[in-house]
């Protein structure tokens, strides 16, 4: 049997060295739930080539979204055997909007299973935040904190914008880390894996386009497709690009690719300069052209129909600032009665905008606020003819497959004008070369 050459990073790693307490948990000293959790962490750590585990200060749990029996079996096994989180743990979106339960149009069995899953995570001591944007909560992680976050957009935001450290965790291990307080010392937890590996230069993109929100999800969508598994550095963005725009880049790139972290020189905390972002190494520089962005924009729409049935905003969950912009653009106008309009947000942000009186403004304008879930992961959208419009690259990417609908991507301005007009209206002039 001929032996294959070993690729870099896939050699024989140092064995995983467990501390006495890790070993005790693995041996069942803290009960069967903790043992199962530690088994999953150890198997993942070995797969990643980790040499040790490390302490985490928080977790964000994606496993609370119902996708079938397997997820429920796992959660109920852990909760039933008495597992409790050892670090603060926030919960991602679920399949249900608990504050607006009448919006759910799915079958009763799935609803009951989803509720049982949510109850299991609550029983384990997780905070009932039900948001995919835990970085918009008051007590978010700080620079350098080791955390175990799942939910691809939250992972990339935590690493890139907060400078906290989480690997790209999937479902299951998120709660395992919360129960044990431990995570593999590998991947994006380590300095050497947080350096940029390829730079993307956006200097060729007109400043006029970069001054608009709509540029950012499209840049992110393109970035995810071309970066592959390399950690990207964006060069040429305006200094101190806003958190909401960085969120749009990250969520788009994590959907179209595997991006778990990016640097934006002059905006993200580990990238004051390109040299800092790449750790002083030399990396390839690729230029992003207007043609690239127009192609990326076009891939986000599945139809050229002007017949508008729905508008969905708030993926990832809108921030207070984004909701404020929506109120401003509506400017007292009403959505056309033939269009279903939704905006998703976290219940904490929903409470904040309620204090500002924006909830009644949105209700009067015909915009339904959705909390605790999202319109593309559970049946909420009403029956409609025509396309659904969104300002989210992530929603545009997933909704056609998940919901079996046609999607048109546009700016928030396009979405609002279209919703009011009752037909798709997009300003294409912002995508011209000069």
């Amino acid at each position: 049997m001929a032996s294959a050459p070993r690729a870099p990073g896939y050699g024989d790693p140092m064995p995983l060295a467990l501390e006495p307490h890790d070993q005790a948990m693995l041996s069942g000293d803290d009960g069967p739930a903790v043992m199962l959790a530690m088994r999953v962490i150890v198997r993942l750590a070995e797969t990643m080539g980790a040499e040790a585990l490390l302490d985490i200060s928080g977790a964000h749990i994606d496993s609370c979204l119902y996708h079938g029996e397997a997820g429920l079996d796992f959660a109920q096994r852990l909760a039933g055997q008495g597992a409790r989180v050892q670090v603060p743990a926030t919960l991602n979106v679920s399949s249900l909007d608990l504050l607006h339960p009448e919006l759910y149009r799915g079958d009763a069995h799935t609803r009951d299973q989803a509720l049982a899953l949510m109850a299991a995570y609550e029983e384990m001591g997780c905070r009932t935040t039900w948001t995919c944007a835990p970085y918009q909560l008051d007590d978010r992680p700080g620079f350098g904190d080791h955390i175990a976050w799942a939910e691809s957009n939250a992972i990339v935001f935590a690493n890139s914008v907060l400078g906290a450290r989480t690997h790209r965790y999937g479902d299951f291990v998120d709660i395992c880390c919360a129960i044990t307080g431990r995570a593999p010392a590998a991947g994006l937890h380590l300095d050497e894996n947080r350096q940029g590996e390829v730079a993307f230069d956006v200097s060729a993109i007109p400043g006029r386009l970069l001054s608009l929100d709509v540029a950012y999800p499209v840049i992110g969508h393109h970035l995810g497709r071309v970066a592959g598994s390399r950690l990207p550095v964006i060069v040429g963005l305006p200094e101190a690009t806003s958190e909401d725009r960085l969120k749009a880049i990250g969520s788009a790139a994590a959907s179209s690719g595997t991006v778990g972290m990016f640097h934006a020189v002059g905006s993200t905390p580990e990238a004051p300069t390109l040299d800092d972002a790449v750790g002083g190494r030399s990396v390839p520089v690729e230029s992003i052209s207007m043609e690239d962005l127009r192609n990326a924009r076009d891939r986000l729409s599945t139809s050229s129909s002007n017949t508008l049935g729905a508008v969905s905003l708030g993926t990832p969950h809108y921030s207070v600032a984004e909701l404020g912009r929506l109120v401003e653009l509506l400017d007292g106008r009403r959505v056309d009665p033939g269009v279903h309009a939704y905006t998703s947000t976290g219940r904490d942000v929903a409470m904040e905008i309620g204090l500002r009186g924006w909830d009644s403004i949105l209700a009067a304008a015909g915009v339904q606020i959705v909390t605790d879930t999202c319109t593309y992961i559970t049946p909420i959208l009403g029956d409609f003819e025509g396309v659904a419009m969104t300002d989210s690259a992530k929603w545009a990417y997933y909704a056609p497959g998940n919901m079996g609908i046609d999607v048109v991507f546009g700016s928030l301005e396009d979405c609002v004008e279209s919703a009011v007009a009752g037909e798709v209206r997009r300003d294409h002039t912002v995508w011209s070369d000069a």
Binding site: R43, D62, G68, E69, F74, S229, Y398, P400
Partner: protein
């Protein structure tokens, strides 16, 4: 007989090969009830992964892919095995947890690009738990 660089989840498996032209997100791109690709933007939308040795360079997208893959393994609609060139922890987790919960094994291995190409061109493949792959290149 090609060898794998790293065994992520060990096991024996055999099946016809399906070589994916682009990475697939199991969440949003795949239906665990039927084992088919539902990502409208994927070049192989409509293909069924169940029981096949699936080659895919790398995973993509959502953290929820772990749960969807575990659910497919539970239902018997998952691939027979996954052959990849890069480690994807989210996929690994789905396979690890399905094994822990249900004692059902879907092997996942990492191979180099030459091996990947050979597997992708084969008609069927057999993975051996010790870390080698037997390929059938022509229909007999």
């Amino acid at each position: 007989m090609p060898e794998v660089l790293r065994v992520v989840v060990a096991g024996d498996a055999t099946g016809p090969v399906l070589a994916l032209d682009e990475p697939l997100s199991f969440w949003g791109g795949f239906e665990s009830e039927t084992g088919t690709i539902i990502d409208q933007a994927h070049p192989q939308v409509g293909e069924c992964l169940a029981g096949r040795v699936v080659t895919m360079t790398v995973g993509r997208g959502s953290s929820s892919a772990s749960t969807v893959l575990a659910e497919a393994i539970r239902r018997g609609t998952a691939p027979a095995a996954l052959v990849m060139t890069e480690l994807d922890e989210i996929i690994a987790l789905g396979a690890i947890v399905a094994e822990e919960l249900y004692a059902l094994t879907m092997p996942v291995v990492i191979v180099d690009e030459a091996t990947m190409k050979a597997v992708a061109q084969a008609v069927s493949a057999t993975l051996h738990s010790a870390g080698s792959i037997t390929l059938v290149t022509e229909v007999s």
